[in-house]
Subunit: 480 residues, 2 copies
Amino acid sequence: MEKMKRSPASICRNFWKLGRDDPRRAIHSIKVGVSLTLVSLLYLLNPLFKGVGENVIWAVMTVVVVLEFTAGATLCKGLNRGLGTLFAGSLAFLFKFIATESGKVFCAVFIGASVFLIGSISTYLRFFPNVKKNYDYGVVIFLLTFNLITISSYRVDDVLKLARERLYTMAIGSGVCILMSLFIFPIWSGEDLHNFSVSKIEGLAKSIAACVDEYFSDGEPDAGIDKSMEDPIYENYKAVLDSKSTDETLALHASWEPRHSWHCNPFPWQQYVKLGAILRHFGYTVVALHGCLQTEIQTPKSVRLLFKDPCTRLATEVSKALMELADSIRNRRQCSPEILSDHLHQALQDLDTALKSQPRLFLGPNGPNNTANMLALVAETTRPKPEKHLSSVKTESSALFDWRSKRVSKQSMEAEGRFLRPTLSKLAITSLEFSEALPFAAFAALLVEAVAKLDLVIEEVEALGRIACFKEFQVGDDVI
Amino acid sequence: MEKMKRSPASICRNFWKLGRDDPRRAIHSIKVGVSLTLVSLLYLLNPLFKGVGENVIWAVMTVVVVLEFTAGATLCKGLNRGLGTLFAGSLAFLFKFIATESGKVFCAVFIGASVFLIGSISTYLRFFPNVKKNYDYGVVIFLLTFNLITISSYRVDDVLKLARERLYTMAIGSGVCILMSLFIFPIWSGEDLHNFSVSKIEGLAKSIAACVDEYFSDGEPDAGIDKSMEDPIYENYKAVLDSKSTDETLALHASWEPRHSWHCNPFPWQQYVKLGAILRHFGYTVVALHGCLQTEIQTPKSVRLLFKDPCTRLATEVSKALMELADSIRNRRQCSPEILSDHLHQALQDLDTALKSQPRLFLGPNGPNNTANMLALVAETTRPKPEKHLSSVKTESSALFDWRSKRVSKQSMEAEGRFLRPTLSKLAITSLEFSEALPFAAFAALLVEAVAKLDLVIEEVEALGRIACFKEFQVGDDVI
């Protein structure tokens, strides 16, 4: 199958699609090609070659390794490389100074020992989370440069000259990288982070609306987690769930970028990371909502339909509010303080009212028997004897229990033919008929929970608007 | 504050703690130091130096760059490097063959063009998700080597000799890396993946038990998401939520490792990734459960206490089952087919019975007024006229609505002094008194949902047991 898909035509199509999806990829590729050609001119053109000599390979190496997709990543890597080289050079010359004072044998032993020590210590340093996150590449370059200089210094006398020449060519390479990444079609991590936040909020908005639509739709929802992998609802929120590392990497790189199209403060990358965390938490609620569509036990359609209108309205309002937030971030304006809560509040109230008006929901199947049962219970509970509740519950439950356990054992006997493990919990759940309303109650509660989380999202977006100096909200801005 | 924490004593403590937490870190650091020293001996010892010459720096570079923490990562990087170098070498010599046929000017133009083309194309290739995941480093090395050889070939005549010598020293460096990572205190990604899976399952087991305990505990749970960041419950499940990239990296590296302590098939890394995905989905349910502890609207303690026993039992059973699964993976034995479901089934049934015995839960505050209200509604619903339900709901809800909206407006007036946005949804939620049972119903439904997800986890662990040829379950194995 894998081989089948890899026909030349499909490879070409993929190749083309990759660039069409994000033309910056093609731009970046061409930038790398141009940079490499520029650097190689140093070697190919005679007058330039006389200036730099053989060491031009270090410029090539710098370009290949340092020039990354976004400006922030390039700067981060370049500065790491620069700092690593500088520290390593200083330390290596200090060590060389000590080593050359003494004899050849001592020198060799000293170099061996220092290579071992510096190698071990700097590798160990890389395990520190803080170092790993920000300076991992710098430490590798430090180790590399230190070893190259220290070892070479044993046989080459004029290491200083060698080092200086290499530094020159590295500086040329770095210069080309900075020129290319900052000034020619720059690609900013900050922009990516910004757009990623917008698309995450939009994804959540879409998936919460789709969840509620599907919950009240006429088609039977299929159970099972396998299906969720290609589910459009899942597609919309999955980017949010696993966004932590992307967020952090983009924010790290954005923190290295000089401010560009922004009028005020430096880029508020920390606020975007915070917003990302809140969005992930919102996403978990959406996952739980989505889970309500896929569980084994379901509230019957007839009961669900009673609440279709308030739930759909609430979801629509939440989704609209999220869309407005996404829109405000996209257009770099502060979000409307009004639109978010008026309708939402109304929708919440309607749901509340609808729920209050249906106290019969916590019952089992709608047979006349059961309703009688409930009436008896209600009669019992109206008596003001709260201490008696528990015992009355006990007797009632034990009576129901007998009936139910009989039923369950019968069902599991039937199931035994089909499954190897009759006591499997999946069977157990379907065979128990939980109060019909339980799954719906969970759905409603999660929807309300989503509203509460929405509030946190609004708070963070507002904070973002303040910190990033988004422009003030004006009435005409409101397009939704 | 940050500066305060960075006293020399605390740095030393951190330094020591890092190694104590995972002694393999110290071992790896020493391994890197030893490898570098071994390679530098090539340069320091006269007889060896005569054999390899100046090019020993390529061996040093290989060791610094390729020797990674785990054997799988080292092999992955080493093979990438090897393949990249090989392809680049072949291509560069092909190009050199074409270029040398013609004049010096054409040769320079040809080299420049090929540097541009190969640079652009291979950078573009790195955007393919499949290439990015498996061969990113290989492509970088390919680009680097191709450029070095192609550019050098313009002025150095015997590039072949140069390339061969470099290849030798790189082979020496790679040999040292393979020796160190595979044979001397090897650190396996597969082991890490295995242990990570165990710890994730244990974390989920702990947090689900802790969630239920806290839900029924006497202390008032605090609301708000900030607190959850240092919450022990959160601590236990947070590793699961963001485990996707770790899982995939470990699995990728494990896929390069030769089988070691295992008796049968190659390491079933794909199954671990699958298990990880299922565990993440289980984790989302735990997050939603945890969310029930932190919402604004809460079922009163008195009502919750009615269900304490069945819920706690169910959670204990789920937690026990997860612990047994973790234990079975840790000891590489198949999990017990019996223990998982008998008690769990019983606990589910008890919860079902308890829920059935409390039909009054969907009511509002327990005043006599409300109960009368409900009785009226019940009387109405007992009549077999399903078409009339909706209209009766409407009237009832509109009556309640008047009363409620009066109340809400009063509350929001009170709140106006404290908050800038009186219509904020958080206020709206707390001012609406949702049916008391709603939050609890959600909690119970999520608990049942967790049982359903547990089933999927059990399936995956059983599949893992089969694929990885874990030893058969024996009665004595069962320690829980």
